[in-house]
């Protein structure tokens, strides 16, 4: 039992050391240009279709929406954001998100995930 525990302890600490390097607790820059994502609504479908997009903390995200009908986009950040778009071309902006995490951006109208923002 001792030997098992000792080997386990050694391996666990090796794992901890191997993964503990690198810290990511820096403050958001907030000065970077907004991330631009083109979004196209066509009937019942949307492009992009659930892709992951990496953004920096605090970085705004501009959605250039082309749609065949007006609708609403929900951003499941804390606090939540709601954005409305019209038929034709609309540019809407998701305010920079400060809290790191994965945030779904959904078409409320179609109940589809457009993109998942990985806020780092």
């Amino acid at each position: 039992m001792r030997r098992v525990l000792a080997s386990t302890a050694v391996l666990m600490s090796a794992l901890t050391l191997a993964t503990a390097c690198g810290s990511d607790e820096e403050t958001p820059s907030g000065t970077s240009d907004p991330k631009v994502i083109e979004v196209t609504f066509d009937g019942d479908s949307v492009t992009p279709n659930g892709d992951r997009v990496e953004v920096e903390r605090g970085q705004d995200v501009q959605l250039e929406v082309t749609a065949d009908a007006p609708g609403e986009i929900h951003v499941h950040s804390d606090p939540e954001q709601e954005l409305e778009y019209t038929e034709g071309t609309t540019t809407v902006t998701i305010q920079g998100i400060d809290q790191p995490g994965t945030v779904d951006v959904e078409s409320h109208t179609l109940e589809l995930v457009i993109v998942q923002l990985e806020v780092r």
């Binding site: 030997r3 901890t16 191997a18 990511d24 929900h74 499941h76 995490g101 409320h108 998942q116």
Partner: protein, 443 residues
């Protein structure tokens, strides 16, 4: 419809989810699990160490006196029932808003919070379960024994009803399209209470012990705590020795399969792969989610059962008994994975629920003085720490699971099959752990 607080009804509880762990971290974790598994096999003990009849140290008499006292039992019954009454109140009279605390009480405090509570304090749900309390109340009024019902609980049923109950809960949480609307949550909870009361009347307290999904879950997790019983006596055991005392019952493997499979599916649902697949086709997402949840639970059970039965056997044991004989060794793996999957959710949304709890009717009141507490988001703001903790929990759970399976193998398998007989299960466990880490990386 959206609420002003940043939590939506259409989307489950909580806004942002954890960032995926880095591929390096996932690979480091999987490698560690692999290496440790074979290390355990190579150097661990060769004769059984744990015996429920002798293991554990007798708890200090003062502590045992408190825990076994009538006042202690009554206190926790009262605490549990007070929370239950509060939950009924907000479920019946509260508004259908995401700031209604009932959602956090059900999905976070009850479903997730039960795990750490049982891990630290033992079989918590058994102590506070309102359905047990009501059954006890009926028995007191009618002068009968709460342990006895009209019938004997059938041995063959074992934990199967609990497995179905757990599946019903994860179905509500992960598959049903409106899990955060008040009506369905209230209906589910009412059905749970009704079934439990009927079951208690028919079979007595044994029904709760074996068929109540929450009590079975809580008591299984409590086997990894240091608190155990030897006969009636309170003892302090090593978690591994305590785990070894888990009763082997029909359906136990189904319980662990549902717990592990559903948590894995919960992760998988958030992965880009699944989102794109569901949104890309013409098949209804509801149907796909149903199939997905069931497939994950069945696959978890099948892989585990296969890992158990692929061994040489003596004459004293039938092959079909093996999965339930080994099922307790899945509990550490499940607990490790639950920690990884739910840690930030439990801490942050659990805290948020405490804030909401002060305003049960969503009219701005502050019953308990918690309404103005700030959000607790420390874990989200320290994603590296969070990711490391998650992977450590998964690997530690894996190690304990492998050791628990090893102990059982050398106890029940004939000598010549003890080492080779463990290998298939070891591979199954490595598959679970690597799969779990992959999902933490992909989701």
């Amino acid at each position: 419809m959206a609420s002003p607080d940043g939590i939506t009804l259409a989307h489950g509880l909580g806004g942002a989810k954890d960032l995926p762990i880095s591929p390096e971290l996932a690979i480091a974790g999987a490698t560690a699990a692999l290496v440790i598994s074979f290390t355990v096999l190579a150097i661990a003990w060769r004769t059984p160490r744990y015996d429920a009849a002798t293991s554990g140290r007798v708890a200090p008499p003062g502590l045992a006196a408190i825990v076994d006292s009538r006042a202690w039992r009554i206190t926790w019954r009262v605490v549990g029932f007070a929370i239950f009454l509060y939950a009924v109140m907000v479920a019946v009279f509260g508004k259908d808003l995401a700031i209604n605390p009932i959602l956090g009480i059900v999905y976070v405090w009850w479903w997730v919070g039960l795990v750490p509570l049982s891990l630290f304090f033992g079989p918590v749900w058994k102590a506070i379960s309102p359905v047990r309390t009501i059954n006890l109340g009926f028995a007191k009024i009618s002068g009968s024994d709460p342990d006895r019902g009209l019938f004997e609980y059938p041995e063959r049923l074992g934990n199967w009803p609990a497995a179905f109950g757990l599946f019903a809960f994860v179905w509500l949480e992960l598959v049903y399209p409106y899990p955060t609307e008040l009506g369905p949550v209230r209906l589910w909870a009412a059905a749970y209470v009704a079934v439990m009361l009927v079951g208690g009347a028919l079979f007595g307290n044994r029904f709760y012990e074996r068929a109540d999904p929450f009590e079975v879950y809580s008591t299984l997790v409590s086997r990894m705590s240091v608190w155990g019983r030897r006969g009636e006596q309170l003892v302090i055991r090593s978690p591994l020795a305590n785990l070894d005392t888990t009763p082997v019952r029909p359906g136990l493997v189904a319980v662990v399969a549902v717990l592990f499979g559903s948590t894995a599916f919960d992760s998988f649902q958030d992965s880009t792969r699944w989102v794109k697949f569901v949104q890309g086709g013409d098949t209804s997402p509801y149907l796909l989610n149903n199939i997905g949840l069931l497939a994950f639970c069945v696959a978890a059970g099948a892989v585990f059962a296969l890992g158990c039965v692929l061994t040489g056997l003596g004459d004293d044991l039938r092959r079909v008994e093996l999965p339930n004989q080994f099922a307790h060794s899945m509990i550490p793996i499940i607990v490790g994975y639950i920690v990884a999957h739910y840690l930030s959710y439990l801490v942050e949304v659990g805290w948020l629920t405490l804030i909401y709890a002060s305003d049960p009717f969503s009219n701005g009141s502050n019953w308990f003085g918690t309404a103005d507490l700030p959000l607790f988001t420390w874990l989200s703001y320290h994603p590296t720490f969070l990711a490391n903790t998650k992977v450590l929990a998964v690997v530690l759970g894996h190690v304990l699971g492998v050791i628990a399976a090893h102990e059982r193998a050398i106890r029940i398998l004939p000598k010549r099959h003890q080492l080779t007989g463990q290998l298939p299960l070891l591979f199954a466990m490595i598959a679970f752990t690597a799969g779990g880490l992959y999902l933490l990386f992909a989701a």
